[in-house]
């Protein structure tokens, strides 16, 4: 996924000299190819994220197409006000790349873990929120963000959990994508980012007829499609490596509750910080987001509802 992100960014930048990549002194190997291929379009703005976003706004006003890269804990959360006032208020075409979302930095602790970013970003007017699950969605999200010419926050989470699609999806912004087909009326799974893989694994093991949908677009999202996915099922399970407050689970609950109420089980981080450090898989277990724990919750929810 990271190689695909890098390659897509390089191809966008080579085709348009107005593209600039700004990084807050992060990115290491991710940008080696970009720096080699497009050295004049690369700016390391230093450990100064607030200024970097303001500078990106000024560059966008001058006709440039800035991509702003940082860790998701900083871009968008640390600089949310700069995004709101300097970028989104005037609908400037700045693409914010937030890397390491969720528990990617499992060993480093709370400062580098990011499970508030979707909730923070989606309440900012004009700002779209994309959250790809694999390399194909990542390439499509990057390309569509660029073509939208509007502010987009692109969330990059755990990126080595394998493909969920077989090719780059040809769909419009806002559409959910089938990651697994199924006809089960009892249950359907909707997930985003790294947990799409988990949803597929759980379905394959325990609910072989259940469909799994990936939501690479948190905002805008096709509300009609969400309703048509949810309506035929008794229970909808939404999975995300993000707080259960304000993320994809909230989006699905908000949409369905207005016109087509359905039972929604929101699986995510339950309003808590990580207690300990360890491997990524360990952190998922600590938060009850490993496949076994999720399966148990789903089973309990199904029998109680």
């Amino acid at each position: 996924m990271r190689a695909r992100l890098s390659a897509t960014l390089v191809s966008i930048a080579r085709a348009d000299p107005k593209v600039l990549l700004l990084t807050g002194d992060h990115g290491y190997a991710l940008f080696d190819e970009f720096r080699r291929e497009c050295p004049a379009q690369y700016i390391n703005a230093g450990v100064a994220e607030q200024n970097m976003v303001g500078v990106a706004a000024g560059l966008a006003r001058s006709g440039f197409r800035p991509f702003v890269y940082g860790l998701s804990a900083f871009i968008p959360v640390r600089v949310l006000e700069q995004i709101k006032i300097d970028v989104a208020h005037d609908n400037l075409p700045v693409i914010l790349l937030g890397d390491g979302a969720g528990f990617v930095y499992s060993y480093l602790g709370t400062s580098h873990q990011s499970t508030e970013d979707i909730a923070c970003a989606r309440v900012v007017p004009n700002l779209s929120v994309y959250s790809p699950a694999d390399r194909f969605e990542a390439a499509a999200c990057m390309q569509m963000a660029f073509e939208s010419k509007t502010p987009v926050y692109l969330r990059i989470g755990k990126s080595d959990r394998g493909d969920v699609h077989e090719a780059v999806p040809q769909e419009k912004v806002g559409r959910l994508l089938p990651a697994r087909t199924g006809t089960c009326a009892e249950i359907v799974f909707i997930a985003t980012g790294a947990l799409v893989r988990t949803a597929i694994d759980i379905a394959a093991r325990s609910y072989p007829d259940a469909a799994v949908w990936s939501a690479p677009f948190i905002k805008p999202i096709d509300g009609e499609q969400v309703i048509s996915i949810c309506r035929p099922h008794r229970v909808v399970v939404v999975l995300e490596e993000h707080s259960v407050f304000g993320g994809l689970g909230s989006v699905v609950a908000e949409i369905t509750s207005e016109s087509s109420p359905v039972k929604v089980l929101r699986v995510g981080v339950r309003d808590r910080f990580s207690q300990c450090c360890g491997s990524y898989e360990y952190l998922l277990r600590e938060h009850g987001l490993d496949a076994a724990a999720i399966e148990q919750r789903v089973r309990a929810y199904l029998s109680a509802n």
């Binding site: 100064a48 200024n51 303001g54 990106a56 560059l59 440039f64």
Partner: protein
């Protein structure tokens, strides 16, 4: 405007009147007198609290009319209590301090990359430079040799809750910017000829450095009962104070 409004940042506007007058009269280039002209110079009012003074200049330029001025703060007015970029002539949405300067730095970098001769002026308050992003932007501007950028610091010595000396001591603002790699000068911010000369002299220096003009000003300048009285940071005029202020400014009873 400060009479029409309910509560307004009147003293913040009065300290930058001469600075804006000189900039608009002698330095800012707007091809075709168009506030949205491509290739214009940029005046970024980072201290959005002074926006009333800019509205007055925009009226002089013919970009807004008396009707809009008179409607200030009325329901549906586009002219807000702080700068809103959706009004042609205002380049940024400011009021949350420490934002506009970074946008100005980005505009300056953009002008450099586009190889234009545009000049970018960013007007900040002395209270505003408490904000960290000002110094992030200063490092960035010097590193990228943005010699088309001039930060103008309105050093009126006060911020919302007290004097800068009481709240957070600033020391020498000029030497701070010099230590960040700027070419800097200090000037009497109410002496129009001196401001004009200083801006000219700063631009005339052959250097890759960004420029800093420190303008020593008086908060509430022009109205004796407002000068050096921080109660006027955010206070409206009533019938009596409006009459007295008007008489102080116009010299008529």
């Amino acid at each position: 405007m400060a009479y029409a409004g309910s509560t307004v940042h009147i003293a913040c506007a009065f300290s930058i009147v001469e600075l804006l007058a000189v900039l608009y009269r002698s330095h800012l280039r707007y091809p075709g007198n168009d506030p949205l002209a491509k290739g214009r110079d940029y005046l970024v009012l980072s201290k959005g609290h002074g926006v009333m003074a800019q509205y007055a200049c925009m009226r002089e330029k013919g970009w807004i009319g008396d009707k809009e001025i008179q409607g200030y703060f009325s329901d549906g007015s586009h002219l807000k209590g702080l700068s809103d970029s959706r009004n042609p002539g205002l380049e940024v949405t400011s009021g949350s301090l420490g934002h506009g300067f970074s946008v100005g730095v980005g505009l300056a970098l953009g002008a450099k990359l586009n190889a234009t001769d545009q000049k970018i002026y960013a007007l900040v308050g002395d209270g505003e430079i408490n904000e960290g992003p000002i110094w992030e932007g200063a490092l960035f501007a010097a590193h990228h040799e943005l010699n088309n950028l001039m930060i103008i610091v309105d050093e009126n010595g006060y911020q919302a809750m007290g004097s800068t000396q009481e709240v957070l001591k600033l020391g020498s603002i000029q030497s701070k910017f010099e230590s960040f790699g700027f070419k800097a000068m200090t000037v009497d911010g109410h002496d129009q000829a001196a401001i004009d000369d200083a801006i000219g002299e700063l631009w005339s220096m052959a250097s890759g450095a960004p420029r800093a003009l420190i303008a020593k000003t008086v908060k509430g300048k022009g109205v004796a009962f407002m000068e050096h009285n921080n109660a006027w940071h955010y206070t409206r005029l009533d019938a009596d104070t409006y009459r007295r202020a008007l008489s102080a400014i116009t010299g008529k009873a």
